[in-house]
Each structure stands twice: as structure tokens, then as C-alpha cells.
Symmetry: C2
């Protein structure tokens, strides 16, 4: 900093591809601060350092920052200064603030700069490698390609659609940086980032060919040849930046929210003509968000695999507790992995399992560690939010099961969450409706009593890709993307009673057509996930007849679809769990 004339540095949680989860190599903020939460921004001045993070991580950050001298800035509290305000209070006007311009999009730099009254953002090249001895390298794991039988659409056809967008904006080349977008486009999957199915790469789509910038060691010679036959050339990952120089005469299509500032600046320097793509969310994101019939079939198959594993898992757990033995959150997490990994189609977990017993269930983003793991016995609610990537699709499911005898208070909480879940799952809505409009349906039974959950209700789920994807969402925050047939999303209301219990009931659903009337096209959801819901924790009198019918029908489907794959004693166990209320 002192050599470069910078008065402060900003270190975010991101990588060069704007990934939600990042590989170890990009855990720069964690390396510098010791704080390991998924979200947080570190700011360093000559004399001070401060870290902004949100309420999920207040406790964890407090513990991890202890003794570091780094100030904890609790985002969202009124008393917390904004990052730019804090800097402006400390630094003279005109001060230069550095950050790695690879880790920020064009749009995010602009937003940051517009908030910086009198301070100047000066994007830098990567400065971490220099100061981080033994910085972890990028993974060199092999990638693999999904056949058209799995994806339902060849990479060639996907490229055609992207080229149409290129044509409309009269661009010569479209540059892509976001990993799950590139993976989708080339039907490529990797394991470079934990829990995700992506590999580090960039892509350039021309009208007649495409370039895939990826470590060639990750591909077999045959795969490289196959790509080449489809006019896709493989170029080493590190070759992306140097390659930009060859685009000097091109009209380049890009998305300012998904393209690094440093690449943008380089292209501008080269005198390129840069055009924003028309689709604000990214054409690939928008295409990827709508699953085709083959992908939906794959999801269904994945749900059966997952449902079998979960049935066996809960049967194992109940057997254990019935014998008077106890388990631990850690063991449960491991056993869950064990049952899932029995499937031939299993690849890896789609996120770190949340196994929260009793009071730990109330910690929304709880991750069990050897230290935190508590004994699980035959009492209280056990919340498990988990999922997996199978070769045909991805799952994300939460069940809360009472391991003892639920109290009346516990039952009321459980039933209201379920009522909201069912109300959203059975909603019918006009074409053009966005998630913002539907969010209240899942909250209403809780809100009637003044209760709520402070997270979103639903997110898009990638097809054997990232478990969180856009461009739509079901949240109170405004998201203008209308729900469309083929979109696959989660439905996960909950309630959290700190120190007591947490309840969440989550299924995945797809959006489908629900007929047309004189008033227009109607859409509806179809629930995809297949696992019983703990009927012993329900107060039937708090459900409407329609809600009960939905639940009973759901349970009959769960049994019908899973039982043929189960051993007789397992099917018997499931039948009992799926009994109508």
C-alpha cells in the first residue's frame, strides 16, 4: 500500500468469476482476517482494519476476529457506519482506495465509486499472491461432459441461442466469465469449487466458433478433439487475459454485472467497442433458468435417489434412538453422506449439510463442527437441510423431524410453517407474476400470529450445477424476473426460536402451465422433492381441508414413487410415515 500511494484496500469475498462459493485460493479475506464466513468485506487502512458482515455471522465474526485488532462492523444495524462513510471519516478527500479489479464487476465498481464521496477507487491487479506464501493453487481436477441425453440440448444448439443475442446487438464476440454459465453452455461439469459442479474457465463466443479458456490438462485428448469438431477451441485458462489483445478491432458484447473491471479496462484501453448485452441478467443465465423436459426428468430421477437415501437415513436414525443409543450432529451428517453416496448417480453434496438439533436448528446457516456438534437423543426437533448433485440433477431439501414427543408449542410452529409451505406449493398465478408477489403466501400463516422468518422463501436450483442460481427468486425483495414454465426452485419457509429450536420445511418445485382462461394464462407449481414430512408434529386443526388434502396427496405420491425402489421393511416404514392425516 505504501509503495503504491494507496490509503486503503478493500478485500471482498469474491473470486474472478463472481462465484457465490469460492475455492481456497480466493479466500483472501479469510486469509487476511481469520474470519471464515461466506460473506464479508475487509477494509484496511494504514493504521486500522475493519470487517463488514451481516447478522448471520455477527457471533462467528466476533469470535474469529478476537485479538486481531480488526473492528467488526455489523451490517444492517443503524449504528453501523457504511464502508464508504467509515473511509471518508478517516481519510482526506482525494485519497486513493485500492482493490483487486479482477474480483469486482464493472457494475459493482461503479456502484462503489458512486458512494465514495471525494475518495477515488483505484482498481489494481491481484496483490494477494505476493503477500500470501503457499497460496493454494487452483484445482487441476478433471472435468467431464454431460451427454445430450442428460442435458436435453447440445452445446451447439445452446451456442446458437447465444449467437442470436450477439446478432441482435451486432456484436462480434460475447465474453463470458461466470462459471456455471460457461458450464451450462458447453455441457461441461467440474469440481473446482466445493459443492459446485464447475471448473475455472472463461469463454468467448464468436458467430462461427467459440473459445473455451480452461486448463487443457483437465480434459482428455478425445474431449479436446470432440470440441474442436464442434468449432470450439480449447485455450489455457491463463491465456484469457493475453487473448483480449487480439480483440482490439472487435465489437464486444458483455454483461457489466458479470464481467471483471480489469478485463473491461484492458479492452477499453485497446480501443475496443464494448456493448452491454440486452438481457440485464445475462442471456445464458436466462436460458439456463428455464429447464427443458429432459432436465426436469433428470431432476425427478434425482429426487427418487435422494428420497431413497433419506428414507433409509431416517429409518437408521430412528432405529438407533429406539435402541436407546444416541448420535451426534456430526455422525448424522456423515451417515447422510453415506446413504446418499450409495446411489450410482451420486456425485457430491450440493452444499454443506445443515444438521441442527434442538437449539442448533435455530441457527439458520449452522455448519456443524467437531466442537459445535451436540448429542442427538430421542427428544426435540432435528432440522436437516441437505442436498446432492446426481448425474441427472440436483437436490436441496429440508426436513424437520421431532425425535421425541412434540409439545403443543412445537406443533403449532411446525404446522404454521407447513401451512405456508403448502400455500405456496399450491398457488396458481397469472403468467407474468414474479417471486416478489408470491413470497407472502408462504409467510401468511406465521404472520397471522406476528411471526416470520428473516430469509428468502425460494431460490433457483441449477441442473447438476450450483444449488443457488438466478435470475429469479421468491423473496420480499423486488426481483422483476417473471416465473416461467420450466423454472425449478426451492420452497422453504421456516421459523427459528433462538435457544430452543428451528423448523424449516423445504421442497423443490417446478413451474408449469396450469391452463388458460378468459383472463389469461395461469401457471402453477409441481413439487419435485420426495420425502415424508413429520406428521406427528402437525396440529391438524390448524390446517384447512385444502392443505390437508395437499399433504395427503403429496404423501401418497412419495410412497408411490419411492416404495418400488425400497426393501419391503423400508417400504413398510415409509408407508407408516406417509399415512394420511
Amino acid at each position: 500500500m505504501q509503495n503504491t500511494g494507496l490509503q486503503a484496500l478493500i478485500v471482498p469475498s469474491s473470486d474472478c468469476h463472481f462465484s457465490e462459493y469460492v475455492a481456497d485460493r480466493y479466500k483472501c479475506r479469510e486469509y487476511l482476517s481469520g474470519f471464515s464466513g461466506s460473506t464479508g468485506t475487509l477494509v484496511i487502512t494504514i493504521n486500522e482494519a475493519a470487517l463488514w458482515t451481516d447478522s448471520r455471522y455477527f457471533l462467528q465474526a466476533e469470535q474469529q476476529l478476537q485479538g486481531s485488532g480488526i473492528l467488526l462492523m455489523r451490517d444492517g444495524l443503524e449504528s453501523t457506519p457504511s464502508l464508504s462513510g467509515w473511509l471518508a471519516d478517516r481519510l482526506p478527500a482525494g485519497s486513493r482506495i485500492g482493490l483487486d479489479g479482477d474480483l469486482f464487476s464493472v457494475e459493482s465498481i461503479a456502484a462503489l465509486q458512486s458512494g465514495m464521496n471525494g475518495l477515488e477507487i483505484v482498481p489494481q491487479k491481484d496483490f494477494m499472491t505476493e503477500i500470501w506464501p503457499q497460496r493454494p493453487p487452483l484445482s487441476s481436477a478433471k472435468v467431464f461432459f454431460l451427454s445430450d441425453e442428460i442435458t436435453g440440448l447440445s452445446s451447439g444448439k445452446k451456442l446458437c441461442k447465444v449467437r442470436q443475442a450477439l446478432q441482435i446487438r451486432q456484436g462480434d464476440v460475447y465474453l463470458l466469465s461466470v462459471l456455471d454459465q460457461i458450464a451450462w453452455l458447453f455441457n461441461l461439469r467440474g469440481t473446482d469449487i466445493d459443492y459446485n459442479m464447475v471448473a475455472f474457465c472463461y469463454a468467448a463466443v464468436f458467430h462461427d466458433r467459440a473459445l473455451l479458456f480452461i486448463d487443457p490438462q483437465k480434459l482428455t485428448r478425445t474431449e479436446i478433439e470432440d470440441l474442436s469438431h464442434n468449432d470450439i477451441e480449447v485455450i489455457p485458462y491463463a491465456g484469457f487475459e493475453p487473448y483480449l489483445e487480439r480483440l482490439a478491432a472487435c465489437r464486444i458484447l458483455y454483461n457489466p454485472a458479470q464481467f471483471s473491471y480489469n478485463h473491461y479496462a484492458k479492452l477499453m484501453e485497446l480501443g475496443c467497442s464494448l456493448v452491454r448485452e440486452r438481457d440485464k441478467f445475462g442471456i445464458v443465465n436466462s436460458l439456463k433458468g428455464i429447464k427443458n423436459d429432459t432436465e426436469i426428468e433428470g431432476f425427478r430421477k434425482a429426487m427418487i435417489e435422494d428420497g431413497i437415501a433419506l428414507t433409509r437415513f431416517y429409518r437408521w436414525l430412528e432405529g438407533l434412538l429406539k435402541r436407546g443409543a444416541v448420535s451426534s450432529e456430526k455422525q448424522i451428517s456423515d451417515m447422510l453422506h453415506h446413504f446418499r453416496s450409495q446411489s450410482e448417480l451420486f456425485i457430491r453434496e450440493s452444499f454443506e449439510s445443515i444438521v441442527g438439533f434442538r437449539q442448533n436448528g435455530a441457527i439458520v446457516h449452522y455448519a456443524v463442527t467437531d466442537q459445535s456438534s451436540i448429542t442427538v437423543d430421542g427428544s426435540g426437533f432435528l432440522l436437516i437441510d441437505s442436498g446432492a448433485h446426481y448425474r441427472c440433477g440436483t437436490t436441496d431439501i429440508t426436513r424437520t423431524v421431532h425425535l421425541g414427543t412434540p409439545s403443543e408449542t412445537e406443533k403449532i410452529d411446525f404446522t404454521l410453517v407447513l401451512a405456508g409451505h403448502i400455500d405456496l406449493a399450491s398457488a396458481r398465478f397469472p403468467a407474468g407474476t414474479c417471486g416478489t408477489q408470491l413470497d407472502i403466501l408462504a409467510r401468511r400463516p406465521l404472520l397471522d400470529r406476528g411471526w416470520n422468518y428473516l430469509h428468502g422463501t425460494g431460490h433457483g436450483v441449477g441442473h447438476c450445477l450450483n444449488v443457488h442460481e438466478g435470475p429469479f427468486a421468491v423473496r420480499k425483495d423486488y426481483n422483476p424476473v417473471a416465473l416461467q414454465p420450466g423454472m425449478v426452485l426451492s420452497n422453504e419457509p421456516g421459523i427459528y426460536r433462538p435457544g430452543r429450536w428451528g423448523i424449516r420445511t423445504e421442497n423443490m418445485m417446478r413451474v408449469k402451465e396450469g391452463g388458460e382462461t378468459e383472463f389469461g394464462k395461469i401457471l402453477e407449481f409441481e413439487t419435485l422433492s420426495l420425502c415424508f414430512i413429520d406428521t406427528r408434529s402437525i396440529c391438524p386443526e390448524l390446517l384447512t381441508e385444502k392443505q390437508k388434502e395437499f399433504l395427503n396427496h403429496y404423501h401418497s405420491e412419495v410412497y408411490r414413487k419411492l416404495s418400488p425402489h425400497l426393501l419391503p421393511e423400508e417400504a413398510l416404514y415409509l408407508a407408516e410415515k406417509c399415512r394420511a392425516i
Copy 2:
């Protein structure tokens, strides 16, 4: 046009104050085209003319434009060209398009220009007076002032709040053009525009004084003196534009959506420093939208006046039909006026009553004329949407009453609309929720069957001002303004069966605090309107117990609050109507 080198003219529906309803003087588009609908834009080229309007007016516009040579452009249909596209197809690049820059806001001109590929918008001064012989003059009706006992807040205190906004932006003067904003700010009411309680005026708020530009003939000498004692100077309406020249050295705060382009251009020419106000919706709009306790009490009083009138009206109508006589939509509209005008507090209707019998009820914005008025007999649904300004507040209410014996199909429609109405009225929601999130609650019972209504669910209602006001709304369209305690709005789901019947059930409600829990502040609604709902048209089995409870409680309140003001035979009639189901 030919003298000024313009290749086209655009004539909108607006006045210089961006009013929703306009005075006759500003019905320029109607004068030129013959089309009298409330919304429509006329475009005139040297050889052609075309009029854009929305689906509500397709039929009416077709009839009224017949033989005029003006092309009808049906807005919203895919085959309809956009105004700018149509012009671009006809005119050479670089063509100049004229419009009266008084009738367009700074923001709307910018939006219009940004859509005009290669054509140039050239704002003009008013050109209608020249070509419109006997153009109606502005009204010279007297204004009146509401006492602090009615408004709950003196003009002085309101000015203080506006001055705070002026301070924050370091402005010298805040210029206001929108009539209901100025009326609110000075506690002034007028009748210059039908159905509204406003007078033509402008205002300038300085830190130490304010200027009110209004025809001094509309005020008494005492009123002018009283204003002057409060540092408010009255200047003739026509003096506003000349006065702008005296602001040359000032820093002027304005709202680009609520300030005319011509005034803006003039100030720019003078070299003024123009600053946009921080509140996108206008500080006065935002303050005005939240009613104080006195205003709410006034609304309550107005509801009693309205409820008495409606009870008497329906009793009269039923008596008439019972005697075998018939009525007409026109007579009903007149009688409704008669019963309302019996109240000492009655000022005028707050909008043109919609009285739609049977198939006419399906026309959402139906306005009865001598020609369209049909015979009302003892059969079918009668939809009446009406309201009034009383000295203490404004009403807007819709009731649909079956005058014969409702069929099963009619009852289903009626009950589902009512269920949605009740679901919204009884909603509880976290502070920070906006109308976009709640809209689905009123539609859900209909949507379950694939039905819907194609209008918004709720709008703000002014306090003895305009019956439609912002800045919030309950609609599917995104409106970021959170509902806040004190906001007063309508709740009006409906269903329309063309050629058969229309049903709408509308009450006004206020937003109020609904307690605080560990999850934050909860808000809820309180229904304000007081008039029975036609229980004979309800299928009780389609309502939940909670919905029935709500209805029965509502009816007991209607009876409790209205009966003390009724004659014994009227109270008896109301008691029968308010019987629990």
C-alpha cells in the same frame, strides 16, 4: 405546424399540473379528436393523425373516431406500433416533433426523447389557445381553507417539514406544480376540476416565506391577510412563469416527474442551479400519504355519513322494486347523489358514480349516459362504485347487490371476490412490506379457479382531495413504497363476465400498527367503510371460518356505528342486512 417547421405534433391528456382528471380547458386531445376517454394520446402529422388508447376505451374510441380519419391505435396489442415507431416509419430522420412543453414533465420528455430514434422532440409553448375558439376558461370558483381541527396539522407545520427537505439539499426555494400537493400544503381546497378538491395554483417555498400563485379573486380579503400573517404571499396564477425570472440566482429544488419541461427549460436558460429533490415521489406526496389521527377521525366520520346515505339508498331501491316498479341506471345515479347530499358535510362526489346493472357491470370504467342507461328491475347484479368528499374526509366504496335471486354461478363469483377482499383486509405483514407483495392475497381465491381481474387492487385516497393518490399502491406492478401506519387505501377485487355481470367489493382501509414480536414490527389494516355486503349472494361453504368471522364482525360494526343515526325502520332494515351468516 407548417410555419414552425414541425413534422408532427403530440397532444396528450394532461394539464400543466399533471392532474389525473383535467378541467375542460385542458381537454385538448378531446377537442381535436372527438375522443372523450380519460386516457389517450393524439399524434398529428401533415397527412395523418392517430390516437393511442388502452383496452378500456377501444370500443368508445372506435365509435367516437368514426369518420374523423384518425387512426385508432390499440395500446397493448402486439400488432399495435408504438407511437415513436409509427412516427419513425413516416418521417425522415431528423424530423422535429412538437408538443406543448407545459403538459409534459421533465422526466416524461426525457423518456419520450429516449424512445425517439433519430427524431427530435421540440417542446413548444401552448398552441391550442390560438386554434381553439372559445376555449373554456379556467374556473373562477372560490377556494376555502380547512381548519387545523379538520387537517390535524397547520400549514405552518407542513411548510416546516418541506423546508427540512429544502435544507438537506441546500436549496433556496422548492417549486411545486401538482395541485393536490399544494392544496395539502396550504390546507386549501377548491373545485376547479370536477370531482377533485383542488384549485389551479403553483407554489414556491422559501426558507422564510412561501408564495402561492393563485387567482386572488378566489380568496376573500381576510383569507389573503391570514395567509400574509403566516408569511404566505398570494400572487396571481398567471404570474408564476414571469416570476421564475426572479429566481435566476437561486438554487432551486424540484421534482423532475412533477415539474413542467417548459418551466425547467426557462430556469436552465436563466442559469439557475436546479437540484432534484431526494424523495423520488415528492416530499409533499410522501407526507400527504400518511394521514394523521385527526384526518383518520375525519375519514371515520365521512364513512358514517356515507353509510347512512347508502343504507337509505338501498332501502329506497328495494322498496321501489318490491312495489314492482323499475328504475334506471341514470335514476339510481341521481338518487345516490340525492341521499348523499342530505348530509351537512357533503361537498361533492369524489368521482363519477359507476352504476352498472347486469352486463353493464362488466364494463370496468362504465359511465352511464342517457343513451347507455338500461332499465333496472328485480333481477341480476347491480354494481355501484361511488364516493364523495365530505368536509372531514373522502369516501370510495363499491357494492354489488343482487336484485333478484342469485344463481349458483353468480354466488360463486360473488363469494370468491369477497373471500379475496377479506383476505387482504385481514392481512398482517411486516413493516417494510409494499403493496406489490400483498396484491396476490386479494386475487388468490379467484386464481385458484384460473380467474382474475385485470385492474389493481388498491389505491391511496386523499383526505378531502383527490380520490386517487400515491405514492403507494396495491397492484401487481412494482411499487417500492412500503405501506406505513396512517396510509389510507382502497381494497377492491372484482370479477367481470362480459355480457353477463360484473362484481366488485370495495372498502377503504387504513394501515395501522399490529404489534411487535421478536421478528419485528407487524402492520395490519382496519376497514373504514361502513355499508352492508349482500349476504344473500354468498355461498357460505366457500368461505373459511376465519373469513366468515371477519364478515360477521364487520357487519356487527356496520350496524353498531350506523344504527344510532338511522330512523327505527331504517335501523331494522340494516339489522336484517347485517345478520351474521
